[in-house]
Subunit: 335 residues, 2 copies
Amino acid sequence: MVGIKDVARRAGVSIGTVSNVVNRPHMVSASTRARVLSAIQELGYVRDESARQLRAGRSRIMALLVLDLGNPFFVDIARGAEETAQDEGLHVITCDSGHRADREVSYLSMLAEQRVRGVLLSPVDTSGAALETFRRSEIPYVFVDRRVPADEASSVSVDDVTGGALAARHLVETGHTEVAFVNGPSILAQCRDREAGVRSVLDASSARLSVLETSELDVASGRDAASRLLGMSPRPTAVFCANDLLALGVLQGMVAAGVRVPDELAIVGYDDIEFAGAAAVPLTSVRQPARRLGRAAAELLIAETADGDEPVARQTVVFEPELVVRASTSLTRSH
Amino acid sequence: MVGIKDVARRAGVSIGTVSNVVNRPHMVSASTRARVLSAIQELGYVRDESARQLRAGRSRIMALLVLDLGNPFFVDIARGAEETAQDEGLHVITCDSGHRADREVSYLSMLAEQRVRGVLLSPVDTSGAALETFRRSEIPYVFVDRRVPADEASSVSVDDVTGGALAARHLVETGHTEVAFVNGPSILAQCRDREAGVRSVLDASSARLSVLETSELDVASGRDAASRLLGMSPRPTAVFCANDLLALGVLQGMVAAGVRVPDELAIVGYDDIEFAGAAAVPLTSVRQPARRLGRAAAELLIAETADGDEPVARQTVVFEPELVVRASTSLTRSH
DNA sequence: TCATTCGCGTGAAACGATTCATGAGTCAAT
DNA sequence: ATTGACTCATGAATCGTTTCACGCGAATGA
């Protein structure tokens, strides 16, 4: 593998000069620069990041560790993060913990060994030991889609209580009195908060609430939930799901069972992923600004790792969700 | 940042011994080992991969560079690749070129600088200059979801010609004579092959084929295609889409326009992503074994980079696609 | 003419691990 | 008592960069 010293020899200069050509071209005379550059070309020299990083002590890579890449919501976060990273000349590597704490731990220790610049983290469990050991590595991290106290870390999130309330209010206002909430695992703060939002609205109304908890936040769990809903009596006339994957699963289960949506059952999802609007009965959903979430988190992380003088203050950014009403809750468009 | 020499000092041994404790524990006596391990614990020592890699000359990371992470098909490939990588103690970093050649180039040069173990590549354009310069870096790569001549590189793909034929035959056999093929950009080999498959079947039948090309392989393009289809006369009674995202877009556009699926228009997608089966009118689709694709590609790459004696022969693995028939083409289930 | 500045280039010292030849110590066998 | 075999630990060399103090020569100013 050709290294900097091969280039130096070929160009008849010292290795220090080659390094300067690559990193501070203005410090080198035009003629030498040209000679070195053509040597680089001819030899096909590619700088070795590991050596560079060893010297520098920090890498040019930031990591994004998400709960589930199968959920387009997180893919959008990744895209946002990549956008700002690129502006800073950094790269993002995306890791998928698949909701599993052991994989989260494994990735975190890998990232610590890599000495990544920082980590954008959407953790399975905040209180977990996973983070506890990672903290000692001194690698900065920012929470994404999870609010934490500012003294612990910066975080960028969306107000899930409001989001839940938004959905619930919409259902109450459209006249539903028998409402179900299909929630994901309650170890997830997002799920707990959305439920809190739902309850705050429904408790103050005359509607009745049943809560179903699923083990995963995916389409298959949604289908399961659908069959449970079908067995309930009285059967709810509206269901709010903790995310769009669940909602799509419920929708499919209902359509398969001949239940008309929204006539017999209104459905509200959460995240407003692209597939929500693209469903044959387009889903009403609570939109989260996923891309902006990713951008903002990356910006915070970059600010924290800027080689400035003073440590930057931790920040807590909270975005507001927005209800997007579509056919799955509006009778007017049906049929 | 605590390094190996801090540990050595604390434990009262040489750095070589610490290294042995970490990498070849059996070569160290039990008592020293215990002493070193507790020093590691107390100091919170985390090995620095960049130094390790500098010495070793190769990294423990393999990369997967895909066309579009927004497409669940590629997420499944990533999962497959990660499964086998994990078995080998490797890590995968997933990069999303978003169908853009410039990002592909940028990622490839980053990966070359990182001296990754190898790259699983789903390239925008095989003939591209992107690859040409990457080749010089000597980093092994395996094509995923794209067949190439075995003398160039190993590849793992699915037979797209057969896949296209499968879909077309299904439509012909269910009696359609006016068929549309909504294809993605023809620079993609996948798209060209699927079209070839479609033509091979339809040319031999009495059905008529119209081909619409879209600029992207996403849901929005599918919606566009739907409106174009609506303007055609005679209007096709069946449409095959080059992937499920397009198909979902078409489905949505049609349902919004009041066209009944499958009664007035049958739709076939490609990839069989989870959302295809979860659509309110579940999509008939050509299934590709995405996870196995990822696994197989990673296995090939690992075989090529095994530090064995002889270079391993290049391999070309081709999987067979499979038609999954659902409601979007079968009148029997409708209403 | 001499001193000062400036522009360019050099060479060596890091960075933090791995690896390997070497040596120190112990034990058993001759 | 000497040898050989074996177990552990050592310390130096090495990987490919970056960085920095320094030196050389030319240009500038007095």
